[in-house]
C-alpha cells in the first residue's frame, strides 16, 4: 500500500453553519468546519462545549436544527446512522457483552453479508492491527479497559469506513495506558489513511495526536489550526489559555506614533500588535519565551522588562520553573533552562521577553470561567 493510495480511503467532511438547539439552549452555534481526506482532526474543548454533539451529528445519532453536513462530497443529512458507514468508538467501549471478541469484530461484516472466509480474514487483520489477536475467544467482561477499547477500535475499522469518529476513547484509562494507546491510535491512523475525528478535553492528548485541532467553547469553534499555530498564535484569549501553560498580564493601553504600549504594575511595556478599537487588551506569554535577570540590570531595546520577586522555584530535572509575583500582585510562570542563572525564593528579578513575543489579545472573562 502506497501512501497516496491509502490517503484516498479517507473522506472529506464539510460541516456548514451547523446549529443545534435543545429548547432554548443552543448546544451548537453556527459551527463550520472542513476536514480534509485522511486528516486527523481533534475537537478540543471544555466540558459542555459541544464536541460530542458535533460528533453525534456526523455519526447520525443527533439531528441538526439547521445547517449542512456532507461526507465525501455528499450531503448525509437525513441518512440514518446505520446507512452512513462511519466507524464510531465510544468512551464506554460499547462492546456487546454476549458476544466474544471475535464475534464483536465480525458483527459489522456479518451485517454486510460478507462470507465466512473473508470475514475471518478481516477480523484477524483488524485484531492484529490493535494487537488483540490472541483474545478472539474471550468475552468483553474478561478484558481490561484498555483491551476492551482496542477491540472496540478493531470493530470500528474492520469494515473499512472512510471516516472514524472517537469520543474520548481513552477517557476512562489511566495515564500510562493512555499515552501508549495514543501512539497506537496515531500508528493506526497512519496505516489506514482513514479520516479520524477525535474528541478530547485533554490538550496534551490533542497535541500528541492531531494534524489539526478545532477548539470548541460554548457551542462555537474559537479557532482551527495545527497545535503549533494554536500555541504560538492563538486567535483568542480562550485558545491561548486552553492550550499549554501561559501567563496573562493586564494594564492600560495607549497608542502613540504607531506603537502600542501598556502600563503593567507601574512599568511600561511595548506590544508588537494593536487591537481593534474598544477592546480591552491582555498580554499572553508562554513560559519558555520569558527569561529572568537579576534585579535592575539594564535591558536590550528589543526587550520588555518587569520587576518582581521569585515566589516559587521548582527543579524539574530538564530545567527550572519559577513563579514570579509582580508589583501589582499578578503572577508569571517562567521556564528556564538548566544553564541559565538559578534563583531562590524571595530574590528580586527582572522578567524579560522580546517585544515580538508580546502579542495583545482581546480580554474575555469567558476564558477564565470556562477553564476546567
Amino acid at each position: 500500500m502506497t501512501t497516496s493510495k491509502t490517503r484516498e480511503r479517507g473522506a472529506a467532511i464539510d460541516i456548514r453553519n451547523a446549529t443545534k438547539r435543545y429548547g432554548s439552549f443552543t448546544a451548537l452555534d453556527d459551527v463550520s468546519l472542513h476536514i480534509k481526506p485522511g486528516e486527523f482532526m481533534t475537537l478540543l474543548g471544555p466540558s459542555g462545549s459541544g464536541k460530542t454533539t458535533t460528533l453525534n451529528v456526523v455519526a447520525g445519532f443527533t439531528d441538526l436544527t439547521s445547517g449542512e453536513l456532507s461526507v465525501g462530497g455528499e450531503s448525509i443529512l437525513g441518512v440514518p446512522a446505520h446507512k452512513r458507514n462511519i466507524g464510531v468508538v465510544f468512551q464506554h467501549y460499547a462492546l456487546f457483552p454476549h458476544m466474544t471478541v471475535g464475534k464483536n469484530v465480525a458483527y459489522p461484516l456479518t451485517l454486510r453479508g460478507i462470507e465466512k472466509g473473508e470475514r475471518e480474514k478481516r477480523v484477524r487483520r483488524a485484531l492484529d492491527m490493535v494487537k488483540m489477536a490472541d483474545f478472539a475467544h474471550r468475552y468483553p467482561s474478561e478484558l481490561s479497559g484498555g483491551q476492551q477499547q482496542r477491540v472496540a477500535l478493531a470493530r470500528a475499522i474492520v469494515f473499512d469506513p472512510p471516516l472514524l469518529l472517537m469520543d474520548e476513547p481513552l477517557g476512562a484509562l489511566d495515564k500510562k495506558l493512555r499515552e501508549w494507546l495514543q501512539l497506537e491510535i496515531k500508528r493506526i491512523h497512519r496505516e489506514l489513511g482513514t479520516t479520524f475525528v477525535y474528541v478530547t478535553h485533554d490538550q496534551e492528548e490533542a497535541l500528541v495526536l492531531s494534524d489539526r485541532i478545532a477548539v470548541f467553547n460554548q457551542g462555537r469553534i474559537e479557532q482551527v489550526g495545527t497545535g503549533r499555530e494554536l500555541y504560538d498564535e492563538p486567535a483568542t484569549l480562550f485558545v491561548g489559555k486552553f492550550i499549554g501553560e501561559s501567563t496573562t498580564l493586564r494594564g492600560n493601553a495607549e497608542t502613540s506614533g504607531g506603537e502600542t504600549s501598556l502600563t503593567v504594575a507601574g512599568q511600561r511595556i511595548v506590544a508588537s500588535n494593536k487591537l481593534a478599537n474598544g477592546a480591552k487588551p491582555v498580554i499572553l506569554l508562554r513560559p519558555e519565551k520569558l527569561s529572568l535577570a537579576p534585579g535592575n540590570k539594564p535591558q536590550a531595546d528589543s526587550q520588555n522588562s518587569l520587576t518582581g520577586n521569585i515566589s516559587e522555584a521548582i527543579y524539574l530535572g530538564s530545567g527550572s520553573k519559577y513563579q514570579v509575583t509582580l508589583r501589582d500582585g499578578s503572577v508569571a510562570i517562567v521556564r528556564a533552562p538548566l544553564e541559565a542563572q538559578q534563583f531562590a525564593i524571595g530574590d528580586e528579578v527582572d522578567l524579560r521577553w522580546h517585544i515580538s513575543d508580546c502579542k495583545l489579545l482581546a480580554d474575555d472573562e469567558r476564558a477564565d470561567l470556562t477553564l476546567t
Binding site: P80, F90, L111
Partner: protein, 259 residues
C-alpha cells in the same frame, strides 16, 4: 459470639421448616391407604396417582390447564415484553402512570376482578371457553412479565443499540441481535411467571368455568369440597415436583448464561 450464631442458625432452620412443611406434608399424604385427608397418613398405595392418570375428570382438567397456561405464557410474554420496551423508552411522566395502570391486575383483589370479568363474559358467551380463560389469565399474567422484563431492561445499556447502529444494523436487526439476547433472561422468567400464574389461578377460574371446561385448580377445589378425594394430594405432589424441576433447571440455565 458462638452461641449467638447457633441460635441464629436454629432460628433460620425453624423458619425454613415453617415455610416448606405445608408443601412437604402432602407427599406422605398422597400415599395414604385410607380414602380421607386425615393426618398422619397410614399404609401405602399408588392408588391416587393411578386415579389421577385414569380418571378423565382429572386428566382432562390437567390438560385444559396445561393448554391455557401455555397459550397465556406466549400471549402475556409478547404483550408484557412490548409494553416493557415501550415504557422504558418513554421519557415523559406519562410512563409512570401507564406502568401503574398495567400493574393493577396484580394488586386489585382477585374476587373484584372475577366479578367484573364474569359479568362481561356472560354477555359475550365467553364463560367456559378457552378464549375466555386465555384473555382473563393473560390480563393477570402481563404484570409479572412487565416487571421481569423491565428489571432486565433496567440493566440493559441502551448505548449498545447506538453502537450497533453505527456498525450498520437497522432497528429490527439491532433488536434481534443485541437487545433481545441481552434481555432474554428477563423474558424467560416472565414467561415462567406467566405460565405459573395461569396454571394455578383459581378465583377467576371458579367464576368463568363450566362443566365442559374445568382447569386443574377448579377440579381440585370441587373434588375437595365434594368428597375429600385424596387424589388432590397426588396431584399436589406431582405439580410440586414438576415445578421444582423447572425452577431448578431455570436457575442452572440462568447461572450458566450469566457472563
Amino acid at each position: 459470639m458462638k452461641p449467638f450464631r447457633i441460635i441464629l442458625g436454629l432460628f433460620c432452620l425453624l423458619v425454613a421448616i415453617w415455610l416448606v412443611l405445608p408443601t412437604l406434608v402432602i407427599i406422605p399424604m398422597s400415599f395414604n391407604e385410607k380414602k380421607s385427608l386425615a393426618f398422619p397418613p397410614s399404609g401405602f398405595t399408588w392408588h391416587w396417582y393411578e386415579n389421577f392418570f385414569t380418571n378423565p375428570d382429572w386428566s382432562s382438567s390437567f390438560f385444559n390447564s396445561l393448554r391455557v397456561a401455555a397459550i397465556v405464557a406466549v400471549t402475556a410474554t409478547i404483550v408484557g415484553t412490548l409494553a416493557a420496551l415501550g415504557l422504558s423508552r418513554m421519557k415523559h411522566a406519562g410512563a409512570g402512570i401507564l406502568r401503574a395502570i398495567l400493574i393493577t391486575p396484580m394488586v386489585v383483589p382477585g374476587v373484584v376482578l372475577a366479578i367484573g370479568i364474569y359479568a362481561v363474559y356472560l354477555n359475550y358467551q365467553l364463560v367456559g371457553t378457552t378464549l375466555g380463560f386465555v384473555i382473563a389469565h393473560t390480563m393477570l399474567a402481563v404484570p409479572f412479565v412487565l416487571i421481569a422484563v423491565s428489571a432486565s431492561l433496567e440493566v440493559f445499556d441502551v448505548r449498545l443499540e447506538t453502537a450497533a447502529a453505527s456498525l450498520g444494523a437497522n432497528r429490527l436487526t439491532t433488536f434481534r441481535t443485541i437487545t433481545l439476547p441481552l434481555i432474554l433472561p428477563g423474558i424467560l422468567s416472565g414467561l415462567l411467571f406467566a405460565f405459573v400464574t395461569s396454571f394455578d389461578e383459581i378465583i377467576v377460574a371458579l367464576f368463568i368455568t363450566s362443566p365442559y371446561l374445568k382447569t386443574l385448580p377448579v377440579q381440585i377445589y370441587t373434588s375437595i369440597t365434594r368428597d375429600a378425594d385424596p387424589t388432590v394430594t397426588a396431584v399436589g405432589t406431582i405439580i410440586f415436583l414438576a415445578t421444582s424441576l423447572i425452577i431448578t433447571g431455570g436457575l442452572i440455565i440462568g447461572s450458566q448464561r450469566r457472563r
